[in-house]
């Protein structure tokens, strides 16, 4: 690049994004961001025009989930920025790297209640890892570099850059900051990736001495790309593994050491193994309330090794015996090395065979289960999911909304590969799946992407299927239509004496017609004998998006379940298994 090159702020912005290797961005133009959309016309970056700004945010998240690279969204000021708050918060809660660019009114108009003005940096301050209002065109390249650096290092998260219109229109002398300049410009930001050697040795000793260890994997394992080394650790000492909602796929479900998901709707085995454990090796997990249940009765006899890159997670919920701040992959590599060294010195691992056979006993006694529907009855959602799973091509990415269908998808799908499960864990954003599936498919066009959605969720963001059609990003949506806000209905049935309040969604819309109106193929499945053919048809269509509506049983509930605020010892099993509860002792 020649020196002393003069660019507009908008040109500098787009060039900066190109230099950050952005290949695709999701957005919707408007007044204040207009200048940035002009140089986009001749850019190498593909822009996906969404139908609602929230969709752009979730698409960027879906992209980031499956690639590990930051998803990029660009929208205008005011209402567009406020529509972006939900995806930003979602990305913040689930540590998803994301860079969001918003337009802002010209600097001279800021604070005058101008048309489409809002205090974007103020509004998004608590839902971003960092945000910045750029006041001079010459600051744009540095702001972009900082945003990508902050979004992708340490604990990943969303970063927002607010761009006043005149800053985009003004000219600047092009300068692309060096890595060193970026780091020097952020003196308060020095993520710690290397674990403390003393703590690592301590962890290795504890692991070797433990009689009842459990590897408690969280989303951080995936963020750190640590799945392989974690598997090596598990296999070396044959330690049972549980994968949280954010870590599904981080360890293969088909692996004999995998005991599935813990938590409110986890497997009885995963929940109980943690409860009875004497050592929880928490890797990139954050002792979320949905995992721990009542905190002071959670895994009371367990010592805790907590590996997390975010120092604020250490001791936030549960005081660790061995806190290790660092990158999960690097730390686990070091722990493995320390274990091998200790073993070479003659310290042998405690025999955990009795523990494993106990855990395997639970697994045998308490498999996932549901009652198959009788002839003429409505389909069971779990059955539909098993059918979808069994017919899905290798490497299929599953994206879910939030609610019962999410829990069933997480439980009944078998995840054997990292980055094949995308969902909204921390924030629990209904409507996440359709746009996130489009983002995932845009990132991985060769993969089949199935969105597992609910009828309530689908109605929140379905319009993005128009985007899918016009952009040629073909996804498959399975709606588990139980004509209810199913999870809320389940709580009202179980905890509010079957007093159903505002949860009935029956009667409208016609999902098939709606799908067709958006350029998709719509298929309705009402009985068991239609299911195989419908799924085969859906899997065979690759030139359009497909929406399959499964008419499922309204009153099906998700089991197991730990009621909110209850101890994990009080997990409610599937009614068919309650009689065997004593085996959980």
């Amino acid at each position: 690049m020649s020196t002393k090159e003069t660019l507009t702020g908008a040109e500098a912005l787009i060039r900066s994004l190109e230099l950050e290797n952005v290949e695709i961005m999701f957005g919707l133009p408007g007044g204040c961001i207009l200048p940035a959309y002009d140089p986009l016309l001749k850019s190498s970056i593909r822009h996906v025009l969404v139908r609602h700004e929230q969709g752009a945010g979730h698409m960027a998240q879906g992209y980031a989930h499956v690639t590990g690279r930051p998803g990029v969204a660009m929208v205008t000021s005011g209402p567009a920025a406020t529509n972006m708050v939900t995806p930003l918060c979602d990305a913040f809660m689930d540590s998803i790297p994301m860079v969001c660019i918003t337009g802002q009114v010209p600097t001279s108009a800021i604070g005058t209640d101008a048309f489409q003005e809002c205090d974007t940096v103020g509004i998004t301050r608590s839902v971003t890892k960092h945000n910045e209002l750029v006041m001079r065109a010459e600051d744009i390249p540095m702001a972009v570099r900082q945003a990508f650096y902050i979004a992708t290092t340490g604990r990943p998260g969303p970063v927002l850059i607010d761009m006043p219109k005149d800053v985009l229109q003004n000219t600047m002398t092009w300068h692309w900051p060096t890595d060193e300049e970026v780091v020097d410009s952020l003196p308060g930001y020095r993520p710690n990736v290397k674990g403390h050697p003393k703590m690592i040795k301590e962890a290795a000793k504890l692991i070797l001495a433990s009689e009842k260890p459990v590897l408690y994997l969280g989303g951080g394992v995936l963020k750190a790309r640590a799945a392989e080394v974690v598997k090596e650790l598990a296999e070396l000492l044959q330690i049972p593994v549980v994968t949280t909602l954010m870590a599904r796929g981080a360890f293969p479900d088909k692996h004999p050491l995998c005991y599935g998901m813990p938590g409110m709707h986890g497997t009885a085995t995963a929940i109980t193994a943690m409860q009875k454990s004497d050592l929880l090796i928490a890797l990139g997990s954050r002792f979320d309330d949905r995992v721990t249940g009542k905190v002071n009765s959670f895994a009371q006899d367990a010592k805790i090794i907590h590996v997390d890159i975010d120092p604020a997670e250490q001791g936030k919920v549960r005081k660790p015996d061995v806190p290790i701040v660092g990158d999960c992959r690097q730390v686990v590599e070091e722990i493995l090395k320390a274990i091998k060294e200790l073993m070479a010195e003659g310290i042998s691992a405690t025999d955990i065979t009795p523990w494993r056979s106990r855990v395997n006993g639970w697994k045998e006694q308490f498999p996932l289960t549901y009652d198959m529907s009788g002839p003429g009855d409505k389909l069971k959602p779990q059955f539909c999911l098993e059918k979808l799973r069994d017919a899905a091509p290798e490497g299929t990415i599953v994206v879910s909304g939030v609610g019962q269908h999410q829990m069933w998808a997480s439980l009944f799908w078998e995840f054997n590969e990292p980055y094949t499960w995308v969902n909204s864990g921390g924030l629990g954003t209904m409507g996440f799946s359709v746009p996130a599936a489009i983002g995932a498919k845009a990132a991985k066009p060769d993969r089949t992407v199935w969105a597992i959605d609910g009828d309530g969720c689908f109605q929140m963001t379905a319009q993005e299927l128009v985007t899918a059609t016009t952009e040629g990003i073909h996804v498959k949506i399975a709606i588990m239509n139980n004509t209810y806000l199913g999870m809320v209905r389940q709580w009202q049935e179980m905890f509010y004496g079957q007093r159903y309040s505002e949860v009935d969604l029956a009667g409208c819309p016609d999902f098939v017609k709606w799908a067709e109106a958006m350029g998709c193929v719509g298929i309705r499945v009402e009985s068991v004998d239609e299911i195989d053919e419908a799924i085969a048809l859906a899997n065979s269509i690759n030139d359009r998006s497909v929406v399959v509506e499964f008419r499922v049983e309204e009153f099906e509930k998700v089991f197991p379940m730990v009621p909110a605020g209850a101890s994990n010892d009080e997990v409610l099993l599937h009614p068919n298994q309650e009689s065997r509860r004593e085996f959980l002792k």
Partner: protein, 185 residues
């Protein structure tokens, strides 16, 4: 921020913590810092902000009234703010603290001499004198200002403003021990 009253947390060493937070001197930093406290429902007792010796950085001195456990979490969360460069928790016993107060006191000519005498004893300055009021400024450690304020109250304080405390570690070696340096993530 609450007004000065007799339930002065300055006197309660169990709850009283001073955080000295070095931040990049940029717009919005104070909002980020104060927002963290607000979100958790903790009151900031006093707050003083000014550029440090290096104009690229500002020092924020925060007096908070919370117990040690939530404070530890708040300090960790503060470290996560990109603009926060360093946080030092100052032990009141091992730091020097100063505060400034300006007060206007209602006093007639007859009693003005008493105020002047008090001001003299406390090394306060008389800034302005009116027919029935005087304005005084005093700086010093916060306890001294408490005492002075209490004495003025007997005459009738029309208006007063305290700056909130600023603090630095004492120069002994021990004072540095309580200092925590953190890494953001």
């Amino acid at each position: 921020m609450s007004s000065i009253n007799s339930n002065n947390p300055y006197g309660d060493s169990r709850q009283h913590h001073i955080l000295s937070v070095m931040v990049q001197n940029r717009p919005g930093v104070l909002a980020r810092v104060s927002g963290l406290f607000a979100r958790r429902g903790y009151n900031i007792y006093s707050l003083a902000v000014a550029p440090s010796d290096d104009p690229n950085y500002s020092r924020i001195t925060i007096v908070v009234d919370i117990s040690a456990t939530p404070l530890e979490q708040i300090v960790k969360q503060l470290f996560k703010l990109i603009d926060v460069v360093r946080i030092t928790e100052l032990d009141p016993r091992k730091s020097v603290e100063r505060e400034l107060m300006i007060a206007t006191v209602r006093v007639d000519g007859e009693h003005r001499g008493q105020i002047a005498e008090l001001a003299n004893l406390f090394e306060a300055k008389v800034l302005a004198v009116g027919a029935d009021a005087v304005t005084i400024s005093i700086d010093g450690n916060p306890e001294k200002i408490d005492d002075f304020e209490e004495l003025l109250r007997g005459y009738g304080i029309v208006e007063s403003q305290r700056t909130g405390r600023v603090a630095l570690p004492k120069l002994e070696r021990e004072a540095r021990k309580g200092a925590t340096k953190g890494k953001a993530s």
